[in-house]
Subunit: 278 residues, 2 copies
DNA sequence: AATATCTACCTGTTTTTTCGATAAGTTGCT
DNA sequence: AGCAACTTATCGAAAAAACAGGTAGATATT
């Protein structure tokens, strides 16, 4: 039976590129690391690295083993942490969720949710971090279609058209639209679901973040379609108002998990506090 | 870091109920097994069994760990077998697939697919076996909705209405229907998709297998709706004919995999030979 | 009450893992 | 070409871990 230690050394060699630095990384001597690696290779009956000169170069077999080794080690660590209270939570969230929704949720949960960190990034980055087991749970607005990732509906985000009071709310096409840059997930949702019925809408301004757009709209520069979570306060104070509420977009927010990884205790706690809704 | 050996002992103790028999199962002495278990418990900081007298009774913590331990061990074995050629394939298939479709596919693939065995059972049994890692891949007609199981479309099965030549094909309601017993997946598919438009159809005969129905239909006892794979030869020979071909049912067949388990080499070979079709 | 059975612990022994040193080979610089 | 700096693989010794046998204590069974 191969040992977890061997896999640990194997991954360390991949990451550091040498047995010396790998040995240091896993607190072994170089010779022990070299031994562990060749032991693993002989047990699998397959060389995992091509020895070209003094260099170790991961070959096809090694590349095949790598993701499985990573999954095994992470699962072993998770199992070890199953009953430990100290299991901190590493969340990945897309911008709207991370900036507006999560702070409120985590604040409400108080100390029940020891959250190590929340990384805010785009969907693809979060997916990649999930694949490397660097995050425990993803909360995304877009779609992540990797076969090793599991997307399940979490909550819904309502996106509303907002403007300062005084904007005519009759012909949406003629209003001065402010939007996110092309390529943004938010932009594409707006284009597909809201503007499909409206012809010839061209933004007068493109900004790189929801908060920037929020401020532009507050400054009276135009109208935009933003998550209700972003503009909640401005709506309550009356600073902004909703135009054409019947055209609001409900977009689904998703939980992103790694298929080869059962929920951590911390993830389970999070989901107990913030369960999926409808 | 906990060791795979410890998990092996842990599972053996669960299965055998005692450290003595567990030790035998994993080729250790009783003392070593007892040691491994308490080592595991102390490493997790949590007792996994309640000691009731001389008895070991799995407690809540142990039950929480059990599925993870199983998954870890199976994945470790899979990794070890990654490069071995001897990785045999343990398939689970529902009746129509296992009896008619698979023999042809495996026969065509010849020796490329060393298949250890094909277990033919109903969807629920296959799902349960998959959960215990006793099968590598499931091929099912129905639905398996366990969160740890992944269902993906594989192929389609065409179910046609058949009878011996001479049966009037005008009013399907009035024909003598032969069906599977209630509770069968095939029966429910027929009822939902075929008979939803037909009122008051009552079977004159209920039989427990497709082959039995096939023979009954050939004997001229009535009509039935069967997979084309079952009646293929009878249709070619002209012994049976298809009634109302426009009412044929296409039902989806699914691959069933365990989420916490990457494809075995043998599974990958199978899928390469018999890939999903539309 | 006697017996059989089981877990857990202790002790000495075997096996595995690890280390430091060293040989052999490669790379890059002069 | 020659030298210096690194790196890998191997070897024997040392350290650590795993292991078997025996046994005490405890609990069902008879």
């Amino acid at each position: 039976m191969l040992s977890l230690r061997q896999l640990e050394v194997f991954l360390a060699v991949i990451e550091t590129g040498s047995t010396i630095r790998a040995a240091e990384a896993v607190a072994l001597s170089q010779s022990a690391a070299s031994n562990a690696l060749s032991e693993l290779e002989s047990r699998l009956g397959e060389k995992l690295f091509d020895r070209v000169g003094k260099r170790l170069i991961l070959n096809a077999s090694g590349r095949a083993l790598q993701p499985r080794a990573r999954a095994l080690l992470v699962q072993a660590r998770d199992a070890e942490m199953l009953f430990r209270q100290g299991g901190a939570l590493r969340l990945g969230a897309s911008t709207t969720i991370g900036n507006y929704l999560l702070p409120r949720l985590l604040g409400a949960a108080g100390t029940d949710l020891p959250c190590e960190r929340v990384e805010i990034a785009n969907t693809d980055d979060i997916a990649e971090r999930m694949l490397r087991f660097e995050l425990d749970l993803g909360l995304i607005e877009g779609r992540a279609l990797h076969p090793d990732l599991l997307m399940t509906p979490w909550r819904q985000d309502e996106m509303v058209i907002v403007a300062v009071p005084g904007f005519a709310d009759q012909t949406l096409e003629c209003l001065p639209w402010i939007m996110r840059e092309p390529g943004s997930g938010t932009r594409s949702v707006v284009e597909q679901q809201l503007l499909s019925g409206l012809e010839g809408v061209a933004p007068i301004l493109e900004l790189g973040s929801s908060e920037a757009i929020h401020n532009a709209v507050r400054a009276g520069l135009g109208v935009s379609c933003l998550s209700r979570h972003v503009v909640q306060q401005s709506l309550q104070s009356g600073e902004l108002q909703v135009l054409a509420p019947e055209r609001s977009i409900r977009r689904q927010l998703y939980l992103l998990r790694h298929r080869q990884r059962p929920d951590t205790a911390a993830v389970a706690r999070f989901l107990a506090c913030c369960p999926p809704e409808a």
